[in-house]
């Protein structure tokens, strides 16, 4: 007699067979919950991620830089929307998602709680922060949940310009005056370690990772992705003639990868807990933007109502 497979076992076998899960399919409640949390946090990160950069749009050093930065920030808004839509296919409610962000209940990537004091930070963000996000998002293009994977494919297509515009900023600063080169170096110093933290805790300390890997939501571990990013970024820093602020960084012949120094995880958890430099500022800015958009939403509602009434009247008259 063959053993009857449970729903969970059948689901696991389906995922193991590299099949995509679609919205109305049966899925374990924990799979749904994990995805809603991950996708909405990812969406919030895109939305909050606009703030540190928006800070520099009006002060970009040239029109070329300004249009690029504006387009990048606009893309991030789009990314947030693709992700919220993907979360909604799992039964999440948009209004709740937005409310949870505004109230501070929801999490977003802590990298966006760091300040952007100089123009070079915009270069470093595009190069490193978008670079790290790309490593993660390229992996997620193969995630098991269809709508999430499709959103990632769209996002990845748009991300590569983000990283290139950032690296180009770093290039012009690194090749500029000694002061400009120093600006670039300082920005690299500021963003290097927080960028490595973007991949999350080390594998031995990220308890939920194993289940996510089993469900093929994640396809690579935090440490694997971090290593990939480090190996890829080092030659890019060398080309800029800038120094990565890690004296323990060295090529490990045996592993075929670079070894790196200890990450300050205390700082990481502090920022997550709300004690980063800009946590309060970011939430305040997001709330302000939302409140100031109230009249736009009201006007859109009024217009929609008016149009609907007019249509109804026309129908009545005909």
């Amino acid at each position: 007699m063959t053993k009857e497979l449970s729903f969970e076992e059948r689901f696991q076998a389906y995922v193991d067979g590299e099949n995509k899960v679609e919205p109305k399919h049966w899925m374990p409640e924990a799979y749904r919950k994990t995805l809603i949390r991950q996708i909405s946090q990812h969406g919030h990160s895109e939305v909050v991620g606009m703030l540190p950069e928006a800070n520099w749009i009006t002060r970009a050093p040239s029109l070329r830089r300004k249009v690029a930065l504006l387009a990048k920030v606009q893309d991030e808004a789009g990314h947030g929307l693709y992700l919220y839509s993907a979360a909604e296919t799992l039964g999440a409610d948009r209004q709740n998602l937005v409310e949870d962000l505004l109230s501070g209940k929801a999490k977003y990537s802590s990298i966006f709680n760091y300040p952007t004091p100089t123009w070079a930070d915009i270069g470093a963000i595009g190069w490193l922060v978008d670079g790290a996000a790309i490593a993660n998002q390229v992996m997620l293009c193969r995630t098991s949940y269809g709508p999430y994977a499709r959103a990632m494919v769209k996002i990845c297509k748009e991300e590569s310009f983000h990283q290139r515009q950032g690296y180009e900023i770093m290039m012009s600063l690194a090749k500029g005056t000694p002061e400009q080169k120093q600006m670039a170096q300082d920005a690299l110093n500021r963003w290097w370690w927080p960028s490595l933290m973007m991949f999350g805790p080390t594998d031995d300390l990220s308890p939920n990772s194993a289940q996510s890997m089993k469900w093929k939501i994640k396809r690579k571990s935090n440490d694997e992705l971090r290593q990939e990013f480090i190996d890829k970024t080092i030659p890019q820093a060398d080309y800029l003639n800038l120094t990565i602020p890690d004296k323990d960084l060295k090529w490990n012949e045996e592993r075929g990868h670079h070894d790196h120094g200890e990450i300050n995880w205390e700082e990481f958890y502090n920022v997550i807990k709300g004690r980063g430099k800009c946590n309060k500022q970011r939430l305040a800015a997001r709330n302000k933007a939302h409140d100031e958009g109230e009249w736009v939403r009201e006007a859109a509602n009024a217009y929609a109502q008016k149009q609907a009434d007019r249509k109804r009247k026309q129908k009545g008259a005909a």
């Binding site: 679609e22 109305k24 789009g78 948009r94 209004q95 509602n301």
Partner: protein
């Protein structure tokens, strides 16, 4: 936030160029069809991905039930005679 702000969901379909069908690209929220088209333009066609947009209220779409996909679709699986390779035509006839 008022309840009125929870605009309904619209599914967005885009024709990337003439000669191709509209293809589903995602969804968005809007208070009416006109705004849905405007939002779709900003959210889904920032890089000339399309030349025409359809928006359909999500709740107007009727979908087949994935749990019933077996009785719905498997009957087609054993009808090999619907495919050209089912028929033996000698090679000298050439392409047919």
């Amino acid at each position: 936030m008022s309840n009125k702000d929870n605009w309904k969901i619209w599914e967005v379909f885009i024709r990337s160029r003439n000669g191709l069908s509209h293809k589903h690209v995602g969804s968005l929220h809007a208070p009416d069809a006109e705004m849905a088209i405007k939002n779709a333009r900003d959210v889904y066609t920032r890089r000339s991905e399309g030349i025409n947009i359809w928006v359909v209220p999500s709740d107007e779409i009727t979908a087949s039930n994935p749990d019933e996909s077996e009785p719905l679709f498997t009957p087609a699986d054993d009808k090999v005679y619907r495919h050209p390779t089912f028929y033996d035509i000698p090679d000298e006839i050439g392409h047919m």
